[in-house]
């Protein structure tokens, strides 16, 4: 369920973000309690709380007193913006570096991506 390379609270936070991005959790939805997280994933409740707290700080979740944690309105847009910011530095640039290292021209990369896109269009 979790890998041993990054702190588990960061993995909890990443998982929650993914759930919000792909719509599993909608804005206004209630999030599992940290105790539910703890028993479900067999992790320390403090670890789960730390992951949830990170998302509160980022303005993605908010607490309703006595009720629990909820997904904030506008959370999805915020996460999309975050991902777009990182997309070029974290995904495109390493790919371009690898392409140049192994001698794949960028034009080939672009052509490949366009072909994939065309295939997808024909499938629809």
């Amino acid at each position: 369920m979790f890998d041993d390379r990054t702190p588990i609270y960061q993995q909890i936070a990443a998982r929650l973000k993914q759930d919000i991005l792909d719509g599993t959790l909608a804005e206004g939805d209630q999030v599992m309690s940290t105790n539910q997280y703890a028993t479900y994933y067999r992790i320390n409740p403090a670890t789960a709380a730390k992951g949830v707290h990170q998302l509160v700080e980022e303005g993605v979740l908010h607490k309703r007193r006595g009720l629990g944690m909820y997904v904030t309105e506008g959370a999805r847009e915020k996460l999309l913006a975050q991902r777009r910011d990182r997309f070029f530095t974290e995904m495109v640039e390493p790919m371009a570096a690898e392409a140049s290292l192994i001698g794949v021209p960028l034009a080939d990369v672009v052509r490949h991506l366009e072909e994939l896109e065309n295939q997808k269009r024909r499938m629809r």
Partner: protein
Amino acid sequence: MNPGTSVHEQPENLVEVDDLRVSYGDVTALEGVSLTLEANKIYGLIGRNGSGKTSLLSVLAAFRRADAGTVRVEGRDPYEDADIVSRVCLIRESGDLPAAKIRQIIGLYRELRPNWDQELADRLLRRFDLPAGRNVSKLSRGMKSAFGCLLGLASRAPLTMFDESYLGMDAPARYIFIEELLRDYVEYPRTFIVSTHLIEEFGRLFEEVLIVDKGRLIVHDTVDSLRERGVSISGPAELVDRFAMGLDVLGEQVLGPTKQVTVYSHPTDDLRRQAKAAGLELGTLPLQDLFVHLTTRPERNPS
């Protein structure tokens, strides 16, 4: 803490140990151990065989007396505390139980333990598949261990300690133990100390980790911070050496022109940037590797 105001208040720290020494004849099991444990957290106690884990737990449970230093559990010396059994429960590895039927021992605990939960005990009997009518001396090692886990959980003592209690239990039984411990902990928060060397499997259960080595406490940290502190640096030998200078190096490996060193330090973003700029690779160390490195390094020069 102000001693004048603490009399009627619950001590904020459940366990306070200062400069503890435990020895058996000429052999020193623990030396200069000081630690403070807050209430309602799950602690992992990690160490190699013979490192002093059991001695520490035995002192906290009043199974034996400190040879020097002070020990306080809920503000009292456990060894002088007639009521200790209602507050502290230590389950030692299998083989520590009287030769009686499971049902009889449960009856004994029910009388002895003020917070005993029979419902939980019944559920664990079922989940661990334990035969209540069988004599403990006839149980397999794994079953004895599982029964010990049952007794420790159902006792619901404010300070509950498991000393390698999982020995001989198979993976499904260990998973049940971890699951039931967490389930009961979130409902009835209390303090657990779980000693183990299965740090990968139990690591995520812990909030904080204590590592003892050769009778000394060498690490007391949160699991997350510990996980971030074990870093490997690899690249061309010369660059790696220059980079690792001044860092706490735990170990090194050379493979042809490349070298990998393991350092014990919290990598700052700055350090990460520098490493990247120098063309070095930074990696995180699994907890188990970090534990092995920390407990196998040669004695450091006191210079």
